[in-house]
Symmetry: C2
Subunit: 214 residues, 2 copies
């Protein structure tokens, strides 16, 4: 890595490093979790974890549970995953995914002798479109949004509503190489100019009052 | 370019090439368009084009109109754009974005002497998350979805619900380089293995009955 590079790292390895691995047999499901298990056919312990990790259930149909996590992510099962972890365990999202990104950013920047960017990524489903895409759960070292408002187009018109989700596009780019089943958990992105900033994923979350779909 | 590469090309240049440029002064707004203009404060001619290009209005708030296009894309203003086009004109999406991709794929594959992939891209907003991301509107020459179901993880468990929106991740990767205001309309992606196939964007569209958010 070189200063200016961006490191994308899969949430799963970050969560493992931060001890966010739960032994399912140790989880005691609440009455609410048992009810959710009944509705969905899911493991009651997983339902308990989903409820603990989320502020609310956004949608539910069949076995599908879309929850809003305490961070504000809207994703299946509150981001809890039971693949690529020891059997009988589940992996929760980092408690503070920006803090995770900052921690890694600090270590890696020191190692390479200059500022790098870090994105903690996870694959999310989407409204309207099929298939998972890798998105940014935590961002450090650069602006997650490229605000192009005020720039002019080729005809000299000022762009009005153009904010690019730059960190999400970089996360998606890393997703091409990360794959899924037994993939590559770390991808280095070079040659893409970033805007130096403390960085945060919060700018990527649409304020609930501005969201037409939740 | 080499055989196996993927060419990402911005919808706007494809639409221009296909004559999908409309002189706004020539557009006669219908009564419905006048009503939509009244509700949104938008140009009545733009409202007329939005209605022509869409099968329905999915959400509307203030000046924001999210429409479902005849292709099945759910996006602002039915994908109609008035930046980087001559003043007084607007650019419509290609009539058949897969056909556009196939046409380009055929020409470029012949030129490089082997199969290439082509993605026609556009920037879309998203539910829940802020910022635009570049997505695939048309796909030719490779599978838009990487279906990982049936693959096993590091512990030997079979993955169940893992379809990666590969063409959308490639489109987002190209979006990092395309920028927005006066950007780069064509990006070549090398070194990423694709699954040879006729290719189509339709596999990226969630069937309305399976969509929890429309």
């Amino acid at each position: 890595m070189q200063p200016g590079d961006v490191l994308a790292i899969a949430q799963k390895v970050v969560s493992k490093d931060e001890g966010r691995v739960v032994v399912m047999a140790d989880v005691v499901p609440s009455a609410r979790a048992l009810a959710l298990a009944d509705l969905t056919g899911k493991d009651p312990a997983l339902c308990e974890l989903i409820l603990r990790e989320s502020s609310r259930i956004v949608r539910r149909r069949g076995s599908l549970v879309i929850a809003e996590t305490h961070h504000g992510f809207i994703c299946a099962n509150a981001g809890i995953d039971a693949s690529n972890t020891a059997l009988g365990t589940a992996i929760l999202l980092p408690v503070d995914s920006d803090r995770s990104a900052r921690r890694i950013q600090s270590v890696v920047s020191a190692a390479v002798g200059g500022r790098v960017g870090v994105i903690v990524t996870d694959t999310h489903g989407r409204a309207f479109r099929r298939g998972l895409v890798n998105v940014a759960l935590g961002v450090a070292g650069f602006d997650a949004i490229n605000d192009c408002r005020g720039e002019t187009d080729r005809e000299g018109r000022v762009l009005v509503a153009t904010e690019l989700a730059f960190a999400d596009e970089l996360a998606a780019a890393s997703g091409v190489l990360m794959g899924k089943a037994a993939g590559t958990p770390v991808v280095v992105i070079s040659g893409v100019p970033t805007r130096p900033a403390p960085g945060t994923m919060t700018t990527l979350l649409r304020e609930p009052g501005h969201d037409l779909f939740r």
